[in-house]
Amino acid sequence: MLEEVIPVTPEILSGETAKIKYEGYKFITLSCVEMDANNVEILYHFDRDLQLKHFRLAVPKKTIIPSISPIYMAAFLVENEIQDLFAIRFSGLVIDFNRTLYLEDEIKNTPFCKYTVVESDSREISSPPDFDE
């Protein structure tokens, strides 16, 4: 029932986002949905003159996704939130809270996943900003 949904992959995400920004869309938010034990889906919502457009990005858990916060600065808060609550990491965040936006340092699991994933070395993942699928 969503109006306009464009499926994207992590590789083309940044390019598509830059394009949509050029077209004059305003960033709204991201919604992360846990699909099953191993997969999540992230919806990127944009708006132009009250018309919505969405990106749908389906990735397995524990993936590192390139952040869109260098393009839309406003995305950093919600990306940090997803990082905290779902087992997804973002690379290249403008402000990286490293899973401490809502959580405490010692929390290693992912509170919003029904099938929780323990991030054993959660403090170390984000140090190399290179991106693997």
């Binding site: 029932m1 969503l2 920004k21 305003k26 960033f27 709204i28 938010t29 919604s31 992360c32 949905v33 846990e34 919806l43 919502h45 009250l50 919505l52 839309y72 600065m73 406003a74 950093f76 808060l77 919600v78 402000i95 809270f97 401490t100 936006l101 809502y102 959580l103 509170p111 919003f112 029904k114």
Partner: protein, 358 residues
Amino acid sequence: MKRTIIPFGPQHPVLPEPIHLTLTVEDEIITEAVPALGFVHRGLEQLADLRDFRQMVQVVERVCGICSMMHAMCYAQGIEGLMEVEVPPRAKYLRVIWSELHRMHSHLLWLGLFADSFGFESLFMQFWRIREKILNIQEATTGNRIIVSVNVIGGVRKDLSPDQIRWMLSELIEVEQMIMNLGPTLFDDYTVKKRTVDKGILSGEKAMELGTAGPTLRGSGVSQDMRTLGYAALNELDFTPVTEKNGDCWSRCKVRFLETLQSIDLVRQAIARIPNGEINTKVKGRPDGEIIARVEQPRGEVFYYIKANGKKNLDRLRIRTPTFANIPALLTMLPGMWLSDVPVVVLSIDPCISCTER
């Protein structure tokens, strides 16, 4: 210049709710601000796993106290959209009336707090006295002062009697008069101008780029208001979004002040046109599919993403509240400001932190 780091919040006299800002200052000028959230994170979105979709109405009401009615309305509209329920016209009008009353009381609360943020205590009390009248209307018509809890899926729970409508209209005349009396104080006073004009400037393009919502966006001259989508009965009422050009604290204050008066007008229009009839419909079955619901709250646009799968519990409920969208704007307003202006600028976006963190 030597840099100093000053923590602002989570407990600060101007903040009703906890948010922390790490301010880097050079001399007295802010150069950088980094927020820290998470002091009131409750995980209400995830409660959708444990409560069925009808009980969630009462849960989303508690995301934010001040705009509880709008949260429930937005959620109910989303579920009604999924289940293809047509809400009776009277219920739509009643929703408009209560939501505009909510906007008024929220803006009056904010106007008071804003006056307090630059130390104008007596103005704060004046605004809160007016707000009390709105709260009385809410209490008398719904049974509770703030968490009015009138929405259900398929309509509303309470009705307005002709007597109540008459009383409400007479109270609103008084409220309008009282608000108008405070206008000159707020906009022509020397001290108020000194503290608000040209503080925390946000240009229109920047505001759009940062995804800002509500009065913060309209204060920068962008006329975007979710009410123009015409949800509930708003498509049958006339209004134009209030905008101000300057994008400073003063403009945002003016937008909210004028919106309070606009809400009174909308309530009057809704009362004039309210049809008779049912106030809710029986809703059978369970929701299935994905939908997006958007409603204009006092602080801006609230965005609900609902994913259901035909079971009793929802798959995912995602709530993007207006303050969440306005925090990035706040971070770009602060650099260049004096440290003493931080409380005014922070309050000018009307931060509602329990909304933000849900």
